[in-house]
Amino acid sequence: MNKTISAGLGLTLAAFALATAKETITVKGSDTMVILAQRWAEKYMATHPDVSVQVTGGGSGTGISALINGTTDICDASRKMKSAEREKLKQRFNSLGVEVPSARDGLAVYLNDASPVAELSLDQVKDIYTGKVSNWKDVGGPDAKIVLYGRENNSGTYVYFRDNVLKGEDFAPGMQSLPGTAAVVNAVSKDKLGIGFGGSAYAKGLKFAKIKKDASSPAYEPNGETVKNGTYPITRYLYMYLKSRPTGAIKNYVDWTLSPEGQSVVTEVGYFPVK
């Protein structure tokens, strides 16, 4: 009797020890990337039962500060790390961090299905979002006010759009900030006069504006080819950041995400592979 109990106890303990001996990789950061990161983690764990990958969102900024505080192994970011952040990482770990471009994303400009506008130049998008142009008729649409939708100012997408499309100018104060890309998509799909921006993976029930680099160049829609060969003008990388060059289980995981198998997940989710 006693023996069976102690044997059972021993077995449970051993199982426990085994479970804890499992290699754990924590991933934290960008909300844009959270679906991709989860899909990667699921697929990877299915073939590597000895590794557990834990994914949480929270935003690029949250992920980077977690990396600096040492509470995450991998940080997902939809923007490049800022020099101030790299500086902090250097003070803490004497390392500038390692950047792994792991997917490409075409940042789409959303229009309602009913909108007669099909293509916009980068300058027009800039003028619309800075408030210089506030009527659709100035960009080839009906005589009606443009309703601007965007992301909250804490998102990496907001900062990317400000720096790369608005060239550092402020968004018009009339822009409605919505929490999350899904909310922007939902709003534009319900608003005939709406315009929004966000990742091209999310769009359901609306159309993408074709974007021209400048007034005379051809317009491109964000799709696998244009994002991959760089002709779509609002293309960005989605990054993973690490404290130092990956080793062991983390290296295996990162290498796997960059492998053809990992990159096929990128396409499944709706982003574009880096290779």
Partner: protein
């Protein structure tokens, strides 16, 4: 303190030898004395512990409120002393090394990192119409946020006030017993409704509905937020007004009815006016709730920091600003401090409103009925 020598007091207390009563005073029977003594201090450890425990819980909640107060103000304080964390000098830090990059892939040219204008923050910059905290030239004007909060609150009160008060008047004066017993809990359940659910309902369904009815230019706007907020405010207005209406002495109603007034006249012209201070308190508490509510406005108002007079423009409220921006702000910088200042502002507003409401109920209402 110096102890003074006590002088002898010859005049007081005659010496016992001169006492007319020759017999010494009879001591009282010993049994009752002992009984009194034993009943006086029955020390029970358990009771003592429970008493102290309850006391400490009460004190802890007081201390916690005090600490929150101190914390919020302490975090906002450096704005006014000019000791906001200076941004790290934008020294050119080397690039991070890259890993796993395919050299053949066409590169993406991203804009170089743009520098933020890091001028010293002055308290006067809180006064302004423009809220652009993540701009390259940050602006922290609070007017548009304050106006947004006031707009939504006003609309919510204009809807919830009449609804709550008339519902309370109905249940306290007209409703049959079964209706009263059903209505009161039903409305109070509304108070416990998670505000994120109300907000989501407003975002997905109510916004489209109201846009179709009124033809709003913007689907999400102050009006939609206000209507959704009214759902959260009605229970407060209702509960407090109902208590105030029930506190009106029965004799007033009886006297009015005896003089030939109908029940409606009695309710509207006798009972309602007598309960005015309590109803006023209800409105103020409703105002406080609407002003501080975050989730509903975050989801339903569109969050654009506009300073306009129109009630159908999108607005950004003080509370939604904290809710949306606090999670990602850099700890200790100007934006962080300003958000704490906004929190302190909300705290002070709701604190003073609650104090005013309390004052009205305690003093005015009680005085009125007790004739003090």
């Amino acid at each position: 303190m110096r102890i003074l020598p006590v002088p002898a007091q010859p005049d007081q207390g005659t010496p016992p030898t001169v006492n007319p009563q020759s017999t010494p005073p009879v001591p009282p029977p010993s049994l009752p004395v002992r009984k009194v003594l034993t009943m006086k201090k029955p020390f029970r450890a358990g009771e003592y512990a429970i008493e102290k425990f309850i006391q400490s819980v009460a004190i802890i909640s007081l201390v916690l409120i005090g600490l929150i107060f101190v914390f919020v103000f302490r975090e906002a304080y450096p704005l006014f002393t000019g000791k906001v964390l200076a941004a790290a000098p934008q020294a050119q830090v080397e690039e991070a090394e890259t890993y796993g990059v395919d050299p053949g892939a066409p590169d993406i040219v991203e804009a170089p990192e743009l520098e933020q204008n890091q001028e010293n923050f002055k308290p006067s910059s809180l006064v302004g119409p423009s809220w652009q905290p993540v701009s390259l030239d940050p602006k922290f004007g609070l007017w548009s946020l304050l106006a947004g909060s006031l707009k939504v609150t006003l609309i919510a009160l204009l809807i919830a006030g009449p609804v709550g008060i008339f519902a309370a008047l109905y249940t306290s004066n007209f409703a049959p017993k079964w209706a009263r017993e059903g209505m009161k809990p039903a409305i109070e359940i509304l108070a416990g409704f998670p505000s994120v659910v109300v907000g989501f309902f407003a975002l997905v369904i109510m916004a489209s509905l109201l846009q179709n009815i009124f033809g709003f230019q913007y689907r999400l706007n102050a009006f939609v937020g206000g209507v959704a907020m009214a759902l959260a405010v009605v229970p407060i207005v209702y509960t407090v007004s109902e208590d105030a209406l029930n506190a009106v002495p029965k004799v007033m109603m009886e006297a009015s009815l005896a003089l030939g007034a109908t029940r409606w006249e009695t309710a509207l012209f006798v009972i309602l006016p007598s309960a005015t201070p309590g109803i006023f308190a209800a409105m103020i508490l409703g105002f406080g709730r609407a002003f501080g509510e975050t989730m509903i406005v975050l989801m339903a108002t569109g969050n654009a920091a506009l300073l306009t007079a129109s009630l159908t423009d999108p607005v950004r409220t003080l509370s939604a600003t904290i809710g949306a921006e606090m999670a990602e702000v850099v700890f200790g910088d100007t934006h962080y401090r300003v958000l704490f200042f906004v929190g302190a502002l909300l705290f002070m507003i709701s604190f003073s409103l609650n104090a005013v409401a309390e004052f009205f109920v305690r003093n005015r209402l009680m005085k009125k009925f007790k004739g003090a």
